[in-house]
Each structure stands twice: as C-alpha cells, then as structure tokens.
C-alpha cells in the first residue's frame, strides 16, 4: 500500500478544518471496510486519511419526535441491535443484520456505507423507503440532503468537498405503516444481492393504500426509488392486480448493470418478482 498521512482528530470542528484545508487530497475514513480495500487495490491514492473514529458524538443512535436520528459512525451491528431502530422499523434492523458477515457489520458504519455509494448495498435501500435525509456539515454550515439526492452515480454522491456526513434522519412513519426488506441472494448469504427491494406501506381502515414507498438495490447505478410504482398504489386497495401492476412499474424503472450477479434483463425481471413478494408481505 502507498504511504499516506493519517490524522485522527478528537472533535468534529477540528475534522472539518483539516478537511477544508485540502479537500481534494484528503479522504474521510469511518470504519474503513471499503476504503482499506480500495487503497490496497490502488483504486484510490489519498495523500491524507482523516479518521473519524474518535468523534464519539457521531456514534449516537436515538429517537427524535416520532422519528430516528442515526449517527454516521454507528456500526451496522449497533444499528441492528438498537432498540430504537427496532422500535421504529424492525425491517431496518433486519436490513443492517443482513449485510455481509458479522465481522463487516461490527466494523462498517452507516456513514461510510452511504458515502461509498455502492448501489448493491443493503442499508441505502431501506433508508430510501423510510424517507431518510442525510445531514452533512462543512466549515460553512449544515446541509440536509434527501437520500435520493445523495446518490448521483456509481460510487458517487452529492457530498461536496469539505463536507462530512453526520447522520441520517428518518421522519415519523404513518400510523400502522409496515415495512420489509427483501434481498435476492441466488449464490451465498454473504454475497451482495442480485437485486433487493424495500417496501413501506400504510393503509386506512378500509384497506386503501395511504402511503407507499418502494426502493430497489442493485437495480441501477444508484439505489432507486420506484416512484411510478408508488403512485400506482396510492388510493387503491392492495389487491392482486394492484400489486402486479406496481411490480411491473418497479421493474420498468430499473436500469441494471450487467455483472457476475446477473444480466441487466435478468435483474430487471427479478426486480419485478421481488417487488411483488415484498408488497404481498406488507399489503
């Protein structure tokens, strides 16, 4: 591995100053599971790595007025075990518990996961369906970024040079909302999903859909909201026809890349199948 300078400030304001001084040649490291591999493979060559691990305030996980605030340094393991996360949406805890293996879950963080912007990752999908908003700060102030505006392209986010991701905020869910995350794993359980689907649904007393969110992983160069599919469910009973139509619209919204986990056509077809399964579970 190429040599680099490592800095590990104790406070967030120090970290922001260090990053602002040379944002182009400084890489921010949270848990390091992705960054260390990228550096070993010489895919990134930072002059300086800014380690966040000592900034304890970024680890906090807590409830906020019916919603949830998840610190960027919270590990997948901590999030999977968190009573606050489980209380908000058991499917979110299950999503973190389904990432890779226990070793990765204990080291990898929420913020690192989002900033890495790998479209095959699990947490962004469920967080998108839960209307997550990323909060980032630079020396010049704080910015709120809805998650579907955070992901720009493969491994690319809308974080600006000099910004550090602080947390993800999740708003209160509609009363009685049900959420699920489904991951299609045709090879091994620790693999990246071929496609994955998160669905959040609420219905009124007569069974009419009042809230629908559908998000897809592995289905494009970014984690994707299937907005046409969501709109098709609004105001309808979630019968067989409605679910099939939404699943077809979700599949149509995808633009998957061909890779070892399937061709583009196969992934698009599977996005439809797994959206249907997810919707049947929460309808």
């Amino acid at each position: 591995m190429r040599p680099f300078d490592y800095i590990e400030p104790e406070r967030l304001d120090e970290a922001l100053e260090i990053l602002a001084a040379d944002p182009d040649d400084t890489l921010v490291m949270a848990g390091g599971t992705s960054l260390v591999i990228l550096m070993k493979q010489d895919l990134v060559r930072p002059e300086r790595v800014l380690g966040l691990r000592r900034i304890a305030e970024l680890r906090a996980i807590g409830a906020t007025d019916g919603g949830l605030a998840l610190g960027a340094l919270a590990t997948h393991g901590a999030l999977a075990r968190s009573p606050a996360v489980r209380a908000h949406a058991p499917a979110l805890a299950a999503t973190f518990a389904a990432v890779a293996t226990v070793r990765i879950r204990e080291q990898a963080t929420l913020g690192g996961n989002l900033a890495h912007a790998d479209p095959a990752q699990d947490p962004p999908v469920t967080l998108l369906a839960l209307d997550g908003v990323a909060v980032a700060r630079s020396r010049f102030g704080e910015r709120r970024i809805p998650l579907d505006a955070l992901f720009v392209d493969l491994f690319e986010t809308s974080l600006e040079p000099g910004e550090i991701l602080l947390r993800v905020e999740l708003p209160r869910l509609p009363a009685g909302a049900r959420a699920t995350y489904k991951k299609f794993l045709p090879a091994t359980l620790d693999d990246y999903a071929t496609v994955s689907v998160a669905a959040v649904i609420a219905t009124d007393a007569s069974g009419v859909c009042t809230h629908a969110r559908i998000a897809l992983g592995g289905a494009a160069t970014v984690p994707l909201r299937a907005r046409d599919a969501e709109r098709s469910l609004a105001g309808r009973r979630l019968d067989d026809a409605a679910i099939r139509e939404a699943a077809a619209l979700a599949a149509a919204a995808t633009d998957p890349i061909d890779d070892l986990r399937g061709s583009s056509d196969y992934k698009r077809a599977m996005a439809g199948v797994w959206t249907e399964r997810a919707l049947r579970e929460v309808a």
Partner: protein, 150 residues
C-alpha cells in the same frame, strides 16, 4: 508517511509500538509482534482467516489499520483458552487447519456475546469464516457442544 505511537492490549498484555499510517493490523500482529496465528487469506475481509476480537467484537485484521486499535483490547488465537479448542479436536472441526484460528476466534466471540446462541445463530455467525474441508458440520457441532456444556 506519518508515524503513530499506538497503545493497546493484546491478549491482556500491554503493547506500545510506533507504526507507519499504512501498517495493517494483520501485518503488525504477524510481522512486528510475531503472532502468526492470525492468517492473511483473501486480504479483502471475506474469508475470515484473519479474524481477531476488537473490544470483544470479531473483525478482519486485514481491513483494519493498526492505528484503529489504539486504546482497544485485541484478542487473537494466541490469547484463547477455551473449551472450544478441545471441542474442535473432539468433533473434527478442522482438517487442513488454515481457517481454524479464525474459526476459533469468531466462535469464542459468539459464545461471549451470546452464550445461548441458537444453532441458526451459530451458522449465521460462522458464515463469514470459510472452510473448504469440513463442510462446517464438525465446526458447528463443536460450538454447540461447548454452548450446551455451560
């Protein structure tokens, strides 16, 4: 390029060393500290050969810079004194042995975190430690045997 003084406990013993920023924990353990029980396999966090416990949690030493364990408690297979080791022998929990130290460190972390882990939890936890010899049956039998003996 930067050098860092790091202090941590390794299997209960205080360590105080200076490392370059790019030193990986697996290399610090193996080459600087002579603890070669921690193996370097895939080098990308998948195979589990380099599993160590960091403040009790299993992690891949190949994905950690040495600087990340400053102030932490690290346990490697050299620091294990667990009935798991006898159980692996009794139950045929290994054949070639390359994965064994990682399997043991992971299993020990599991039984510390969840002494009454179910068979499904054992399978899920050990999923990250690849074994190409045993088919895993001997490994999971050994872990369940130690769990049941407590």
């Amino acid at each position: 390029m930067s050098e860092h003084r790091i202090r941590f406990t390794l299997n209960g013993t205080a360590v105080d060393v200076t490392v370059p920023a790019e030193r990986l924990l697996v290399d610090l353990l193996r080459y600087d500290l002579g603890k070669t029980g921690t193996k370097d396999g895939c080098s990308v966090g998948v195979c589990g050969l380099c599993t160590v416990q960091l403040d009790g949690a299993p992690m891949s030493a190949c994905l950690l810079f040495a600087t990340q364990v400053d102030g932490a408690r690290v346990r490697t297979v050299e620091g294990l004194a667990s009935p798991l080791q006898e159980a692996f022998i009794d139950e045929g929990g290994f054949q070639c042995g390359i994965c064994t130290s990682g399997q043991l460190v992971a299993a020990d972390a599991l039984l510390r975190a969840k002494p009454d882990a179910t068979d499904a939890e054992i399978a899920d936890w050990q999923m990250g430690n690849l074994c190409r010899c045993t088919g895993y049956y001997g490994i999971t039998r050994a872990i369940a045997k130690v769990r049941d003996a407590r």
